[in-house]
Symmetry: D2
Subunit: 336 residues, 4 copies
């Protein structure tokens, strides 16, 4: 049960509602976000919500049978648009394209990539400054200094930044320079990180876990929302299966299923999904036709020299081509 409270509700009204909710053996959790205040009632008993619905201070009330609540489309039917400012939005019927290198490697690489994206009309740049690596001896990214350098050039070019945050203590120093915090596939169920991102007024894109279920991804989004942040994007990036011909199994089934279950935008990551450079285009176009609101992919001036993920990274010529085809594909789907 989601009870949306009026902005001008007073404390005694709120207490009366909580008391009423508890009287039905429902626990009540208050959630305060950028956009409003909610009481989430968790319980199993059926009752007539009209007994609550007309209490003073309530703007709206919904029964949500899913066990995640605030992210469910059963409550909010209209798609939620994520607004990054300066006219850059995700989920508005436009196609959100996010591109850039796996790792931020240095100023020259940043300048080249920014120029490429700008020339293509792309508004969001991806890149990693904190890199999760299986081996402790591998390159772990340029860190906060890399982010600041990147920010300088991105801001000048009017590009928004999406980058991975790996732990709670990084949020504060990154905050000023980031437009979308990305939660990586290894952190989808890092609940402390999700809690902390709930307290930030920046968009958060959560990647599906390495072998995460669709429901677990929705629960992780519920963590961030119930922590106070309703600027959420979900990302399919391939799951782990027995098949080894692709790096991961990009699960495009998840796209229409997620779009049906949640009001938040859904993005696909074909680079990590299939993990094979020459097939990234096919999977990007297929993702759009499956209904994705956006595509995030890796591009680099010289993939063979990239610090990481070169095998799945497009060069700028391939990037130009995929952008053109993605836009045409999205246009066709919109015409249906």
């Amino acid at each position: 049960m989601i009870i949306q409270l009026k902005k001008n509700i007073d404390q005694s009204q709120k207490e009366a509602i909580v008391k009423k909710v508890n009287s039905f053996k429902y626990e009540s959790n208050e959630v305060k976000t950028q956009k409003g205040t909610y009481l989430i009632g968790i319980g199993t008993k059926e009752f007539d919500i009209r007994q609550i619905g007309n209490m003073p201070g309530i703007a709206d009330i919904h029964i949500v049978s899913d066990s995640y609540k605030l992210v469910s489309k059963k409550w909010k039917v209209d798609p939620t648009v994520i607004d990054l400012g300066d006219g850059v939005t995700i989920g508005h019927g436009d196609l959100a394209i996010m591109a850039g290198p796996c790792s931020i490697e240095g100023e020259e690489q940043i300048i080249e990539t920014v120029a490429h994206l700008k020339s293509q009309g792309i508004k969001i740049m991806r890149g990693g400054v904190y890199k999760p690596r299986s081996s402790p001896y591998a390159f772990r990214g340029m860190g906060i200094d890399g982010l600041k350098l990147w920010y300088k050039h991105a801001k000048a070019a009017g590009l928004k930044i999406i980058t991975e945050v790996m732990q709670v203590s990084q949020i504060e120093p990154m905050l000023e320079y980031v437009d979308v915090f990305q939660v990586g596939a290894r952190n989808t169920q890092n609940f402390n990180l999700l809690d902390a991102l709930g307290q930030v007024d920046k968009a958060v894109m959560i990647k599906r876990g390495i072998s995460g279920t669709i429901d677990e991804l929705l629960y992780s989004a519920e963590y961030v929302f119930s922590g106070g942040n309703e600027k959420l994007i979900l990302c399919e990036r391939g799951i782990r299966t027995y098949e080894k011909a692709s790096r991961n199994t990009l699960d495009l089934n998840a796209i229409p299923i997620l779009k049906e279950k949640t009001h938040f935008p859904v993005v696909s990551d074909p680079s990590h999904g299939i993990g094979i450079r020459r097939h990234v285009e096919s999977m990007a176009l297929a993702s759009i036709m499956a209904g994705a609101d956006g595509v995030i992919y890796e591009t680099h001036a010289n993939p063979a020299k990239a610090f990481s993920d070169g095998q799945q990274t497009l060069d700028f010529k391939e990037s130009e081509q995929i952008i053109r085809k993605m836009r045409a594909t999205h246009e066709l789907l919109s015409s249906f």
Copy 2:
């Protein structure tokens, strides 16, 4: 190593070639199909094929590093077109659409479906007369009588028939009435069935195993080809993963990967793949954008009353719509 023999080769020439092949510690397997005769050399030693290449009776010779040979694109770069006669082809750059019910249920259902497909310009009708069922007590299909009934109406309407064959002893009685034998996901590695289908001059569509690898699917195709039949189609139909939000995980990654590995057409089955009626369209369109040569899906005048698979079957109105969109999608991809 694949040695393509000349049509007019004589026995002594052939023996000389086999002897030469054996002299390099290669086993030689003779394969005779509808289209030609091949010697498949299996071995690991490297040698200069020019030592064989100019022997009399040889039309062409190729080293194939894959462990499947005849189905590999390393040998035959051009796509193979499967010709079902009367101008109906699969793999020729056109989109092959195959539609029909899960099970053939009776004459009325056949007539309705034939009329629907004809009105949409569809040329290939799917349907099951032998049904693999987990439980021995479930409906197992109308059998050969159902096939004959179906054939009568399909022939009259100029429709080609694709239907599943489950065991060797069914091939002979079915032969006259079938245009494409389908090998189901539970029989992908039924090697005796594959051997037997190698001896038939009808097209064979092999579905990927329930948790079959892409390589295993190619090996299964190699069985049929090396048995003597090079009219092959491969079909992605979803694999078994931990995710239960979809019936199977339709693995669209397999489409560009298969298209790169083999010269045979690749078809997608979104109905069994995602297994949810309202998402079949998204997955069908995504399949085409991923590069599928065709789509096979389930449709029924009244899905709610279908004997089997109703939950993933489109009604005729939905079928009309998906056909229109699939064609537009294929047209866009062809324009790139």
Copy 3:
């Protein structure tokens, strides 16, 4: 619902029962096996079985809520013992050990193996004469002649034979020489083969599918039983997962779960399960402690020269050691 009929039931009594069963909207399937005759009622309505229970001709009646019926422990609580004759049984509280090579290769190998098993008091010899192989160019086994040769020596030594049958047409020629027909992991859902094995009065061991569920294995057993053969053994042999450090993931969880669900004996195959020679012993002992009624494993005088599966095959010294330890482990478990 399982209705066990009296041996002396007459036709009119049977018809009366079927009519009664149908009156509750249950379909009735008659099953006649080596041991008795059953009517299997398939339906969903709840009713008081006493309305049927006292009709003449009925020996016993049970409601079975599982969707498999005859193999369920909900019907038959006592474990079923499979009697291979000459005092050799499976499932009687003794540990059934089955050992031998992957493939039968020739007379010398047969003689060596028979001698080894006899010296260790082993009563059941495994070996393949029809080999399912991914590649059509690989060794496919010695066939029926190999079986006859093997039979000659096994019979002389008092050994029972378990070997894989791959298709319906092999059953008849193999019948005289085989004590247990093995259905391989690629044929677990080859329903025609299961049907045909239902009509044979020999034991059948069904391996779990390559990625088969536990329920699917039980359904496959139901096929054989409902076809008329209640001499069944189930075998866990490893499932396909993402983990590649082992050949398969031997799923020992399946052992206590199967033992709880069915009255038939459950056997473990650690050789195919983990697929690594030096770890076969650990998995064999673990299988016994998990509750397996038997273990089937591969042994060869010289594993390095085996035609197939050498990497997971024990030599005779290792075989001796594993037998000794398996017996001690089984003894300990029995003492609890």
Copy 4:
């Protein structure tokens, strides 16, 4: 390459070694732990290590072909024993039994459990005070106050404490009260947490990821070791597969494989593994026979009333029985 440095090495000697290592195109990482100082050389070129081996300051040098180094058995053949003090060790040929509730719920529950474990001679108590939960609305544990309460009673009874740490900021406050920090299956690749645990002088038990590979588990251990902590324990707790008859698929294959790859102790968690109370015993005994150095399981005075995981938790009578049988099983294995 692992270079073990002498305790009395001086700075100029160390620099000379690093210079030499770099001269072979190897990166050098210095690792300082409770037990010693190491240089880890990461590179691919082959060279004769005797060129380094006799430099002053070097105690020992090993080439390790695995990509994880310090945790590899290729470097350290003898098993590493984890000493928790007061004679409590893990990995010394004894069986380490760790038992207790899923969640610490309150003082009465702590007292009951402590009494039960003491009466059985168990030395290590498990329990959760920080609980990772899919839903943000679920009980998340008693936190640090619960831990302090637990510590008071455990210390008095001479019990060691193993409990999960979920994030870096919890380490410091927990440090005094914990004997073994547990890294949960959702945090196996939380690299920041692993880094931080490398700086702590307490044992760390890392659980295999929800769908983690064996190699990833070893890499995660390498993180902690290379961070400075070589008191490590690895834990198999079940992986995610398509099979839903068990909660997870406890992968006992991992036990002999891990024991062969690493010198650290390996523990099995049958409670989370199979997740079904009545089958926990079978999987515990099987784990021991597969070679586990220890077993961790859930027990509660009244599982039906446990705050979490009741369906897989043993009552004290079952716990007594499993302890007795586990010890007998371990004794048998030791006698082989």
